[in-house]
Amino acid sequence: MADPRGFLKHREREVPAYRPVPVRLLDWKEVRDELERDEPTLRRQASRCMDCGIPFCHQGCPLGNLIPEWNDLVREGQWEDAIDRLHSTNNFPEFTGRICPAPCETSCVLGINQPAVTIKNIEVEIIDHAFEANIVEPHIPQRQTGRTVAVVGSGPGGLAAAQQLTRVGHTVRVYEKDDRLGGLLRYGVPDFKMEKVHIDRRIEQMEAEGTRFRTGVEIGTDIPWDELRARYDAVLVATGAPVPRDLPIPGRDLDGVHFAMPYLHQGNQVAAGDDVPDQITAAGKHVIVIGGGDTGSDCIGTALRQGAASVTTLAIGKKPPESRPGSQPWPTDPRVFEVSSSHEEGGTRDYLASTVEFVGDEDGHVRSLRVATTQYNPDGSRTPTAGTERDIPADLVLIAMGFTGPETSLLSSQGGVSVSDRGAIQRGDDYATTIDGVFVAGDAGRGASLVVWAIAEGRAAAAAIDEYLVGTTELPAPVSAHTQAIRA
């Protein structure tokens, strides 16, 4: 049993510090300082978990991570059981423990009155500990079912589904259009947030379990969707939601105005040692990032490491409140002002900034941004306030305003999968598309979301596919295709 008084004995959160900013800006390595990891501190933090009658964290996590269980196991130093319990709901805690925004912590019951338990840090420590102890082993199925599955996309959702399906004896091949596996994990997330060794280690385990991978193959282009369907007993579409939201204002086609993702992609390629001709780089430039989300923040860190002259983030809305507003009561996941590791590293953040025009120089290169103050209208819409325009110098503009959804044209035309008016792939609660044997999971189904949702969907879709293939399933399904987080 957990220590019922732990939260009264240890009141503050303690997590390992990041490396000092000047030091970490010199490399692409993870910002977390390995030397700061400390087992007594960690176990003390784990003892703050109250082992709730209703663990809202466990609900807040789409995966249904058994957070109270492994918190207590860490408190007791039962590392082997802790990783087992963690793995029982989460295929890849090393990913979520690093890059998940941790809705578990915002729904932690302790968080009502005290700083929440450091769940995410405990999670990552458990898996790191397990890798260090060499106890993450392949789970090789004892027999094959003879059924085959194609998983399209090697992001977290696709990988989770592939691992689940492989482990129950299906023959699974994962197709990835990029040259390396991992999807957004590989090329969307900079190394300073998560080093790629974590992906490689997992792929190694999966290969040992029997999952097969093909990179550099784009389904729809290299293999038509209908053909793929014909080659496999089932197909899982896990291609993400890569279509970025654009900012169609004057000057959009000027040089130096880019979507964030190609920029980050190239940055990651370079960090991996690739040569990238004509790389978009921030070196020596005044960089403007439009959009205050996680992608924007990744752009900041990347730009600063590339040696940007300045980095400014523009957000169209108000500065989020420092603490949970009344309209987003506990245990919902609130939008509050956050300082990521990248924000700590430099740059400025500007709010209520409506970009009205990209202003170019004579070479057709962006020179500055014309920005007006955002005005909130009674109907809830936001417009630039006339007369408040000002110009901000810019050499590189990165649009990080989110994503609108999946690529569906070929899937629909070749594969016959129905797509809704709003561009979403139609699917049932069980992840099945309108085409028999074709399933969709992750951002491709849900729209852009968090890594935990992707893994949760991948796991659940695997269960659905397993059931489709053999009639029953023993695999868990943590969420349905239409499960939503608790909202006020």
């Binding site: 109250m50 009658g53 209703i54 809202f56 039962q78 009502i112 009155n113 789970h139 009561p329």
Partner: protein
């Protein structure tokens, strides 16, 4: 046959006559003078009339529950009224036959033929004169015809004649003969469905001048129900009984089982006499039948009584070894018939009385100088000149009073028992034959492979949660773990998961009609060990009867099991005992047919083993594998048990169970309850060994873990037994005190014969399917165990995503809080939709009910407004102490604003709140601890609620550990900060239904304006109890579901005791309506009430008021942390920690909004159903249909028709009138009138009044008048001073406030000074009496219960549990019975003489001074743990004792006390001070704190204080 035993009423809906209970007044009168006389019969009739208040009447005041008289055969009288020749007295048998009108000829013929078959001759029949005039209509309608029959057998007389007559009667009964009130050559009974006054009016025979006897046994019955029945009245043929046999189901089964081995030369061919116990007879009737058998088969009546009702010998080291051996020997022959009992018995010459082992019924007796002996339930039964009384005594627990009218003397308990014990060399017999398992040679320890633990855990459905929450704590601490906040998961049959068969059974528990026991503080009366092995002929006594194996514990480890399975390896035991292992596995592939076939094969194997003389059958599921799954051990055990009972071979062998599925206390209790001798929970043991090895148990080793587990399981069983009031494992074994919920009746009737299953349910097919699913989890079809998952998560005790569904889950908690905090009705609907919407997830029985669609709606604006509906709402009884002041007061304010009612819970109420109209709680609870229950508290109540049981842990007490008794909590509870408080399992003034009636009367006197509630928990038969409660004149009855409850509760209680409220409420409504009692009582319901739909369903099932507890707490901010018992509630709801309290975020408006929303939903649904008010809807069960749960693999077998049964139209469905409490005739009316000057003008008043035992609760209403005017301070000391002469009825001076002195010359009954609140009570003998303080009894049991202040001076001996839970009164007494000073938390006691056993159990405060204390009589555990310290008097103590003694002398004129004072210097050294150690430390620390000006409320001060005072 039913007509014979008086259960003519067939079951209707949920009502089943089998659940009727009764309790009574009982008395006998006998003379030692050697001659029969009319005077004795008259005295008997008078005593009977003075027991009127212990009986009851139902809806018709002129119809009694039953009364009767048993005398010697009045030969002179009979001779004078028959027109045929009678042989000499003793040579003919006579008895009153109850003939069914219209069938009388056939019945007479059947009897005469039976007589002829036994060579007996019917001399003639006589029509008994009857005057039906005074009878009520229903009694008259059910009245049989009465004829006396006279029977002779050549050359036989006395007991020999009675043996033959017994054969005649048994034959006749089987052939359709009449019921006989008695039929004997020695005794004659007249009885019927009468009030005590009617007996002599209806049967003029008994008043005939020639009707003479040397003895008269009388009985006044109080039944829970009033269904017409004449035969149920008592006395029976040999006994009159005040009590209840808790184990009767098992006792009957065992008797049936023994029928195969019974032989008696005296009785002849036994085949004609079977069955011994008439089916469907009452518990007392079965007892009577077996007693009759044992007696007629050759044992003297007292011997037979001691076999069936032995005293508590197991833990009594003071007992003479020969007597111990007598009991030990007989315990191997027959289990005790356990339960509270005052048993009076007679064979016509001997007449006696005895009490159960724990003295749970009152018993008093008197002897006069002319040889008259009077014994009975009360003092004051006869008006006897005090000057003639030479002895006043009381029956002590397990002791016997015997009058030998032939010898003309009283035979003392000691003499009877010594004589019986000396009859055979029992000690030798036991020594030579019984084998202690510990003495059997040890076998090499076998270690089973750990490798498969995990797979087998899966096969038996173990979860991670069970490992962590149940097994690890048991293995670590040796104790069963606690939980809080009740249970909100579906019952087994509604769960979509496979559940263990154990989960379909719920524990029954004692409420109202019998008390639960206190297995911790009153451990001396319990016994968990016992003899196992084959039983020979019950009707003989040979040395071989002692051949048994003695087990100390019902749970055994592998080594002990190995000893038993290899018992014949010991050369000394080789041809005596043997064992055989039977495999309880079946081929899982074959499904339920395979299971059935395997059971049939097992029966054959067992029969074969028994025919070979095997003495121990070991039922084992140890070797399950891929193909063979385990049969649920409970099914295996019970099926074999009942198979053997049916074949009358059950007692030839004992059943041992080696079971992998057993891991909870509840599981062991069930296995023992269905007949097994010992349980070996091998997988649970392997599991804790594994936990220890894997480092989960700290420094507890694997061996220690197993030992702890076994201890926890065994001790837990003792606690479960205690809940039902059963004290020994031998009696519990096979007693089947469980009900099935959701099991098919056919299945239950086959393998669990006699177990109620009210709503039908799943059969063996689903049971097999559940086994198969668990098995598939261990041996999955894919062959792959899931990666990373050892076991399933669980989620029964805490919510988990992949676990069991809970009504409160993250979504419902959030939506409820959000809706009420932001006042959004649409969000509230989202919350209720999720709770109510059970189409997808079945959670509750009400989820299976739906409104009929053919109703005509009314416009919603015609429905009564929200403001009317909320008046019917109450919040639950949560004490201040269990929840914080903030949480408590917020609820109170909200309910006061709404016009509903909040409840104090069991924690008192501070004076500021009592008088604050905003913050007071309208309902004041009275629970077993009586914390804070003062005159002032009661006077300020709107409603007073007696908590008989609580949903989370019915039948158990509670405990507030010292660290939670913060100063402010201690203040309202009248206790000491830092000293733990215990609520006993029973109310020590409610051991029976008539005791409840008395407490209701007491509370009504304490506040005539308040409604009195009785809170019950739903279980099978609760409707019958509710009817009894209505007859006790309770104004409100509250039915709680099994699922409610905050605070700490053992997990087995939380999950496995009680039934859903839907069943209990429907049962209550149906039974009340059936009895036409519904109009006089308000019915309230609570238990996981969460939505408007819940309220409407409850109303339709019969409730008119509704209680909510958990939901309003959630509204206040509770997030179901379920740590109420740990004081760490992080949201300030259930904690006293000031820091955590500051986090409380609840607001009155939120709670108000919640109830308004609920009421609004109620309105909408009423409109939809076409009702304009709740009152219109109450009881209209026809509006409900049961939804067929066709998609649910388990619930589809349920049958809710009994829940929806409609009562006969024409009777009230809702309360319409009020109870008549009879206060206008109370003696207090006169007292109040005469005290007017004192009440109004503080003028001292002093006067004398005569008093009788029928004057109950004297002084209490007067006290009410004082407190009403002068609050807690009362009047100046001695303002009112009243002297009474005579025998006072029960509860003399209850709740007496300061300023009143009551002096009694004579004696008093039970509960003197109950709740004494500052007044003074003096009880002393009459001036002319010859009483001796040191021997004679002055007052009864449970004196000063829950007293908070005042003084008691008692010149004489008193009964059991003196000053139980006293927290402030000072008392002087000459001597006390068992369990004195129990649970005392404050005050002072001076005991000038002998004490009974178990003094100071649970005493945590106050000081006692005992003259010549025998330390072995002090609670052993408390002494051993250093909780009580014994020492001499210090100078300060001397002053206290001396001054109390001086005052005692002034008040009582006790010559003895005077003498002690005179010799003070010599005497003072003989006093021992009994002082609770923790209390002493706290007292010293508080004194020091006061001296230094410290403040306990300062930050950190409390923790420091606890540190300083810790022992």
């Amino acid at each position: 046959m039913a007509a014979q035993t008086g259960a003519p009423q067939p079951g209707i809906g949920l009502y089943d006559p089998a659940f009727e209970h009764d309790a009574c007044g009982v008395a006998f009168v006998a003379t030692l003078r050697g001659t029969a006389g009319r005077d004795i019969v008259d005295a008997g009739l008078t005593a009977l009339k003075n027991l009127e208040h212990r009986g009851a009447v139902g809806a018709e005041t002129e119809t009694g529950d039953g009364a009767g008289i048993l005398t010697q055969v009045p030969d002179r009288f009979l001779r004078s009224v028959v027109d045929f020749e009678l042989p000499e007295a003793g040579s003919y048998a006579v008895g009153v036959a109850f003939l069914t009108p219209g069938e009388e000829d056939a019945q007479v013929r059947a009897f005469e033929e039976a007589a002829a078959a036994e060579s007996a001759w019917v001399l003639g029949w006589r029509d008994v004169p009857v005057n039906p005039e005074p009878l009520g209509p229903s009694a008259r309608a059910a009245m049989p015809m009465f004829r006396q029959v006279f029977v002779v057998v050549d050359n036989l007389s006395g007991v020999e004649l009675d043996r033959r007559i017994y054969r005649v009667r048994k034959r006749a009964e089987k052939a359709g003969g009449p019921f006989f009130a008695s039929l004997s050559s020695r005794t004659l009974t007249y009885k019927g469905m009468l009030t005590t006054y009617q007996l002599e009016q209806v049967f003029p025979d008994v008043t005939h001048e020639l009707y003479e006897s040397e003895l008269a046994l009388v009985h006044s019955r109080f039944s829970t129900n009033t269904f017409p029945s004449w035969p149920l009245a008592q006395p029976l043929r040999g006994i009159a009984h005040n009590g209840e046999i808790n184990t009767v189901q098992g006792n009957r089964n065992w008797i049936t089982a023994r029928e195969g081995t019974m032989e008696s030369a005296l009785l002849g061919d036994m085949a004609d006499l079977m069955p011994i116990c008439t089916p469907s007879a009452s518990d007392t009737a079965s007892f009577d039948e077996v007693l009759e058998l044992l007696h007629l088969a050759g044992r003297p009546l007292p011997h037979a009584v001691l076999m069936m009702m032995p005293e508590a010998w197991q833990n009594n080291d003071e007992m003479d070894p020969a007597r111990r051996a007598f009991y030990e020997y007989h315990s191997a022959l027959m289990e005790a018939w356990d339960g509270p009992a005052a048993l009076h018995f007679t064979d016509g010459t001997l007449i006696g009385a005895t009490l159960d082992r724990n003295g749970l019924r009152p018993g008093r007796f008197w002897l006069t100088d002319d040889g008259l002996v009077v014994a009975g339930s009360e003092a004051g039964l006869l008006d006897i000149d005090p000057a003639k009384v030479v002895r006043k005594g009381r029956l002590q627990p397990g002791r016997m009073l015997l009058v030998d009218t032939a010898a003309g003397r009283i035979v003392e308990d000691e003499e009877i028992k010594s004589q019986l014990a000396a009859e055979h060399p029992y000690e030798e017999w036991v020594r030579d034959n019984a084998v202690r398992l510990a003495d059997v040679p040890d076998r090499e320890h076998v270690v089973h492979s750990q490798a498969s633990v995990k797979r087998r855990q899966r096969a038996f459905g173990y979860t991670e949660e069970e490992l962590k929450r149940l097994l690890a704590p048991m293995a670590r601490e040796g104790l069963e773990p606690l939980g809080a906040m009740g249970s909100d998961t579906p019952i087994a049959v509604l769960s979509s998961r496979p559940r263990l068969l154990f989960d379909y059974f719920t524990q029954m528990f004692a409420q109202v009609t019998n008390p639960p026991l206190d297995s911790i503080r009153e451990e001396v009366v319990t016994a968990i060990g016992g003899a196992i092995g084959p039983e020979p002929n019950l009707l003989e006594a040979t040395p071989e009867h002692a051949r048994k194996i003695l087990l100390e514990f019902p749970v055994i480890d592998n080594d002990e099991l190995a000893k038993i399975t290899h018992i014949d390896a010991d050369p000394r035991l080789k041809d005596i005992f043997s064992a055989r292992r039977i495999r309880g596995l079946y081929r899982v592939r074959d499904g339920h047919q395979g299971l059935e076939r395997r059971l049939a094969d097992i029966f054959d194997e067992v029969d074969h083993a028994i025919s070979q003389g095997v003495s121990f059958i070991v039922l084992s599921d140890r070797d399950s594998n891929q193909d063979f799954a385990p049969i649920p051990s409970l099914l295996l055990t019970s099926a074999v048990h009942h198979h053997l009972v049916r074949n009358h071979t059950r007692t030839r062998a004992s059943l041992i169970v080696e079971a992998g599925d057993v891991r909870e206390v509840h599981h062991v209790a069930l296995l023992v309850g269905y007949g097994c001798a010992a349980v070996n929970p091998y997988l649970a043991m392997e599991t804790v060994e594994d936990l220890a090895v894997r480092g989960y148990l700290g420094d507890v080793t694997a061996e220690k873990a197993v030992a702890n587990l076994i201890k926890a399981l065994g001790k837990g069983v003792l606690k479960i037994m205690s809940k039902m009031g059963i004290s020994t494992i031998a009696s519990y074994r096979g007693a089947q005190v469980f009900e099935a919920i959701g099991l098919s009746r056919e299945f239950v009737n086959r393998h669990f014969v006699g177990t109620p299953s009210q709503i039908d349910g799943v059969g063996i097919d689903v049971i097999a399917e559940e086994v198969a699913r668990r098995h598939a989890d261990a041996y999955p079809a894919s062959g792959e165990l899931p990666a990373h998952q050892r076991l399933n998560t669980g989620g029964e005790y805490q919510w988990r995503r992949d676990g069991e569904e809970h009504l409160f889950d993250p979504k419902t908690v959030f939506k409820l809080q959000h809706a009420t905090r932001t006042r959004q009705y649409d969000v509230f609907r989202e919350y209720t939709d999720r709770v109510d919407g059970q189409a997808k997830r079945l959670m509750t029985l009400r989820g299976l009910l739906e409104y009929r669609s053919d109703r005509h709606p009314v416009p919603i604006d015609e429905v009564e407004p929200v403001s009317e509906i909320v008046k019917r709402f109450n919040t639950g009884a949560m004490s201040y102490g269990s929840i914080s002041a903030e949480a408590h007061e917020t609820l109170a304010i909200a309910m006061n604003r709404l016009g509903g009612r909040s409840n104090t819970g069991e924690g008192g109420e501070s004076v500021e709140r009592l008088y604050d109209p905003e913050r007071r709680s309208a309902i004041k609870q009275v629970a077993s601890g009586r914390f804070g229950v003062t005159s002032e508290y009661l006077v300020n109540a709107d409603d007073i609620q007696i908590k008989l049981a609580q949903g989370a842990k019915p039948g158990e007490g509670g405990q507030l550990p010292g660290n939670k008794v913060y100063p402010w909590v201690a203040e309202t509870r009248h206790s000491t900060p830092g000293v733990g408080l215990i609520s006993p399992p029973p109310h020590h003034d409610i051991y029976s239904i008539e005791d409840l009636k008395q407490l209701i009367h007491d509370l009504k006197n304490a506040n005539p304006q308040a409604r009195i509630h009785t809170k019950l928990v739903s279980e099978v038969g609760v409707g019958t109890i509710a009817a009894g409660v209505a007859k006790c004149k309770s104004d409100v009855v509250l039915i709680s579901g099994q699922d409610g409850g905050t605070g700490a509760s053992p997990l087995n209680s939380l999950k496995h005791a009680g039934a859903p409220w839907e069943i209990g409420l429907a049962d209550t409504q149906q039974t009340l309506v059936l009895n036409d009692l519904r109009d006089r009582i308000v019915v309230q319901v609570d238990g996981q009430m969460k939505t408007g739909r819940d309220v409407v369903i409850a109303a339709l099932l019969g409730a008119e008021e509704f209680g909510f507890a958990t939901a309003p707490l959630v509204v206040e901010g509770c997030i179901m942390m379920r740590v109420c018992h740990l004081d760490t509630c992080p949201v300030g709801v259930a904690t006293q920690n000031p820091e955590l309290r500051s986090r409380f975020s609840g607001k009155v408006e939120f709670v108000v909004t919640f109830f308004e929303f609920i009421a609004e939903q109620v309105r909408e649904q009423l409109a939809q159903l076409g009702f304009r008010t709740i009152a219109e809807a109450v009881g209209h069960v026809e509006v409900l249909d049961s939804r067929q749960a066709i998609d649910h693999w388990k619930a589809k077998g349920l049958d809710l028709a009994p829940v929806l049964a409609q009562p006969e139209p024409g009777r009230a469905l809702i309360s319409a009138t009020i109870q008549d409490h009879g206060l206008d005739v109370a003696l207090d009316q006169e007292l109040i009138a005469r005290c007017e000057g004192a009440l109004e003008r503080l003028e001292p008043v002093q006067f004398d009044v005569p008093i009788k035992n029928v004057n109950r609760t004297v002084g209490t209403m007067l006290g009410h008048e004082v407190t009403k005017r002068y609050r807690g301070e009362g009047l100046p000391d001695g303002t009112i001073d009243i002297t009474f002469t005579g025998s006072a009825g029960q509860s003399f001076g209850a709740f007496l406030p300061r300023g009143i002195t009551l002096r009694l010359l004579g004696d008093a009954n039970d509960y003197v000074g109950k709740g004494l609140s500052g007044g003074r009570i003096v009880v002393r003998p009459h001036r002319e009496s010859m009483m001796d303080d040191t021997k004679d009894v002055i007052a009864g049991n449970v004196i000063g219960y829950g007293a908070t202040g005042g003084e008691l001076f008692l010149r004489g001996q008193v009964g059991e549990r003196f000053l139980v839970r006293n927290s402030g009164a000072a008392a002087v007494v000459a001597g006390v019975g068992d369990h004195a000073l129990e649970y005392m938390t404050g005050g002072t006691a001076v005991i000038l003489g002998s004490t009974g056993r178990n003094l100071g159990a649970g005493m945590s405060g106050g000081t006692a001074y005992v003259l010549d204390l025998r330390p072995e009589r002090v609670n052993a555990l408390a002494l051993a743990n250093g909780e009580l310290s014994l020492s001499g008097l210090d100078p300060e103590d001397e002053v206290i004792v001396r001054s109390l003694l001086e005052r005692h002398v002034v008040a009582t004129e006790s010559p003895r006390a005077k003498d002690l004072l005179a010799r003070w210097d010599e005497i003072r050294g003989r006093f021992t001070r009994v002082l609770p150690a923790q209390y002493a430390r706290v007292r010293d620390a508080l004194a020091e704190l006061e001296a230094t000006g410290g403040d306990l409320r300062a930050p950190g001060a409390w923790a420091e204080f606890l540190e300083v005072t810790r022992g």
